[in-house]
Amino acid sequence: MSVGAPRGLASSGQKLITEMLHPLSAAEEQLSPWPDVTISVGVEKQEPGLTNGTPVEMSNPASTLQLIDRLQLDDELEADTQDPSETHDLFVTVDDPKKHVLTMETYITYRVSTKTTRIEFDLPEYCVRRRYQDFDWLRTKLEDSQPTHLIPPLPEKFVMKGVVDRFSEEFVETRMKALDKFLKRVADHPVLSFNPHLNAFLTAKDLNKRQGLALLTKVGESVKHVTGGYKLRARPSEFCAMGEYLDTFSQKLGTLDRIAQRILKEQSEYLTELREYSSVYSSWAGSEEQLQRPLEGVAGCVTTCCGAMEDLSDSTSQDFLPVLREYVLYIESMKNVLRKRDQSQAEYEGRLEAAVLRKQEDRTPIPVEVEKCQDKVECFNADLKADWERWQRNKRQDFKQLLTGMADKNINYYEKCQAAWESLLTVLQDKQTEDKTSETN
């Protein structure tokens, strides 16, 4: 699903892409190391509040076209590894968890550090503390204001299983990594990263969450206001394919999760037996003379292998499983966006049908709203397709990394065990030759 020749938008009043002034043509610095400058050039003509590319009259096609152009440009630069629409001028990190104990509640905050050269930010560096609620707020705001885009998922909000401790080091660590990933994905997104809510999240000392940025919420709601009752006629095949892929993929991930959990369970039982096994060797060593050292050596070796197995299991539960689960959430987000797209297409088709009928009856021209609807649908489709591409690329990278990591951990485990047994073997064989020579003497 690569973006080939850019299609002109068939809606009225829009020029074909080839006729529009290339937003990047003004600056010679197409290949500059600071691509943010080029972005600013294209963007500064507009109000800062509308840089997020919300589907409002003029700005929407520009942002999408921008996107398409960038994709075109970057195709010449680099092949598959790099995401062409990454801007690399906004770096965010989540780290340093701290526990806050108040009278009413206890919670964890994380340090969110930002480094940027964008002009939307007043300072080049920021450092704020945020808690999970704040991330949740950000995500909701992003979803509301960018309904046509895929918003990366957050780690689970509620910890259902009563066994898991919200404040355990492992849990906090896992959650923090997921929050870091979330922010990085948002920051890397060519459209989402310019969202003023993100700006506020990264910079404001105090996130006053009740005060929305009213301007944007109103704008966003225009898409949200898709009244029910519109039935979708024909979903374009590519979106059908997307939906099917997501369903199957989600299912496979679920199975992968179950397999990994089963392996963890078996490994833990294996570990229990292995420890017992080691202790028998130790006990036996106690009643032997010549064999004492060899037997103790074996006991030590088995114990080392136990440690190695523990490490392997830990990394499965801390590194492997969380990523799997996060992707399941990501898939749900994506499905939501697809649904919204369907709804907006349905609305358009419904309105068009009504308008056409009326035209036939009393010759009233097709109202502008219907055309606006068409625009909305087309923008939605374009945004979605672009995001889909990104998502696929990221998914490939992420899973490549995840599975390679899993292979690495397993290799690591066997290497540790092999080293332990090999050093024991030298000891045993030395002893054997020692015994032989003393025998013949």
Binding site: L291, P294, L295, Y414, L424, L425
Partner: protein
């Protein structure tokens, strides 16, 4: 006497000799090897033949640097210097038993060949005898009775125990039969290389005389001794002044028995769990396959990685089968511990009998003294009746005195014999126990080494498979 290495290939009906290599080493222990290729001068080789057909007919052997092999472990081999012994085949037979029921059992082929060429300079053809497990048991029981001070090499287990779930507990299972064959050969080699046991006539007949051997054994009358010995050994008795050294050895044998059986049980449980871990990974293979269908660029990488992980899951079967060899070595010493204990108990029994005989002698002597002097030192029924009914007639007294004299001297003889028996038993036992301990240390150390090698091989396989999978993931 020269030592030679016989290399040959065995086919169902005949043995093809490749070469007979005479070797100059004086302390060379050699083994019975059927191999295709050997190198000398310091090459440590372990041959393991996988093919089912050949597996049935060849035994696993180890050659070491000094040329000593499995029989190299077995002390100064008397019998083995003169002939090579191997248990080469196993076969199923059926026949009607005593109660007219059809019985199926396995027989094993024992082949022996004297090493020295016969008077006319030719190598004599091998002897072969078919024996079933119960005959081996008979031989061993006979040897135990006849040589009670020897720590008797054990037979492989009668029924499969300490099985991990995949392994069959069926006595007819080919893997079990194969391992039993190796165990029986091991038993024969150990016995034949023992300085004392190897000279036994019944053993020689066992190896060479298929018909009529059982009658020979029964003619020795050992069965009666066996029954009484069994009863005695199971009885509870207390020895006043036990042999300290042998008591320590008995205590050690209990510990050895306990630890080896604990180890075997723990190993079985570990094997079960490890099997589960490997097999669950097989699910990855399946899911990767299904997943690769919906992917474009990632598909190939996933699919091939899946195949590697499948191979990983399948590899555990061979790994655990090989570990059974280690378990067998442990089992041998589990049973050896019983044999060791039996020697100690036998001594205790002898000691007890000696103490009984001594007691008996003392009481006889006392009785004689009383009768002779008329002084009653101890309470006796005779004394009371004498007081009540009057003294007996001098002839009767005379007769009784003579009887007691006889009994006393018999008793003295008995004590002397028993003392000699006891001392001799102790002396020989101590010697054999020492030998046993040396053997045990060597054998178990070797077992631990081969176990470490197995583990290393397993780790290497694991690294290989996961590296392959990793390569595939990178190509995703």
């Amino acid at each position: 006497m020269h030592f030679g290495l016989l290399i040959s290939i065995k086919f169902p009906q005949n043995i093809l000799e490749l070469t007979h290599v005479p070797l100059p080493f004086s302390n060379l222990k050699f083994i019975n090897i059927f191999l295709f290729f050997i190198g000398f001068s310091g090459i440590h080789t372990v041959m393991r033949i996988k093919s089912a057909h050949i597996k049935q007919q060849l035994s696993r052997c180890v050659i070491r640097e000094d040329g000593g092999g499995r029989t190299g472990r077995f002390g100064g081999s008397r019998l083995l210097r003169r002939m090579e012994i191997c248990v080469s085949e196993a076969e199923k037979r059926s026949c009607r038993n005593a109660v007219s029921m059809l019985e199926t059992f396995t027989v094993y082929l024992i082949e022996t060949r004297p090493l020295e060429p016969t008077a006319d300079g030719r190598n004599s053809s091998p002897d072969s005898v078919w024996r079933r497990y119960s005959e081996f048991e008979l031989l061993r029981n006979y040897l135990i009775i006849s040589y009670p001070y020897i720590v008797m090499p054990p037979l492989p287990e009668k029924r499969a125990e300490f099985v991990w779930h995949k392994l069959s507990a069926d006595n007819m299972d080919p893997d079990f039969v194969e391992r039993r064959r190796v165990g029986l050969e091991n038993f024969l080699l150990r016995v034949a290389s023992h300085s004392v046991l190897s000279n036994d006539k019944i053993l020689h007949h066992f190896l060479t005389k298929e018909q009529g051997w059982k009658d020979l054994v029964h003619e020795t009358g050992f069965q009666a001794k066996a029954d009484s010995r069994l009863r005695a050994l199971n009885a509870i008795f207390r020895v006043r002044s036990p042999n300290k050294h042998l008591m320590e050895v008995k205590h050690y044998s209990d510990e050895l028995q306990s630890y080896t059986s604990q180890l075997l049980r723990a190993r079985t449980r570990v094997a079960d769990r490890l099997y589960a871990v490997y097999k669950v990974h097989g699910n990855y293979g399946r899911i990767f396959s299904e997943w690769s269908v919906i992917e474009k660029e990632m598909g190939d990488g996933l699919q091939s990685a899946g195949h590697h992980i499948d191979a990983y899951a399948a590899s555990i079967d061979d790994i655990l089968e090989e570990e059974e060899h280690y378990a067998d070595q442990l089992k041998e010493y589990l049973f050896y511990a019983e044999a060791l204990r039996a020697v100690c108990r036998k001594h205790e029994l002898t000691q007890f009998e000696l103490e009984m005989a001594s007691q008996d002698l003392i009481s006889k002597k006392q009785q004689r003294e009383e009768l002779a002097t008329g002084i009653v030192r101890t309470f006796s029924f005779k004394g009371i009746t004498n007081k009540i009914f009057g003294q007996e007639a001098p002839e009767q007294r005379e007769a009784r005195l003579n009887l007691l004299e006889e009994l006393t001297s018999e008793g003295e003889e008995a004590v002397k014999e028993k003392t000699a028996e006891c001392d001799e038993h102790a002396e020989r036992a101590v010697t054999d126990i020492l030998q046993f301990k040396e053997q045990k240390d060597k054998d178990l150390q070797e077992a631990l080494i081969s176990y470490a090698l197995m583990q290393i091989s397993m780790c290497k396989k694991g690294i290989q498979v996961w590296s392959n999978a990793r390569e595939c993931f990178l190509k995703m």
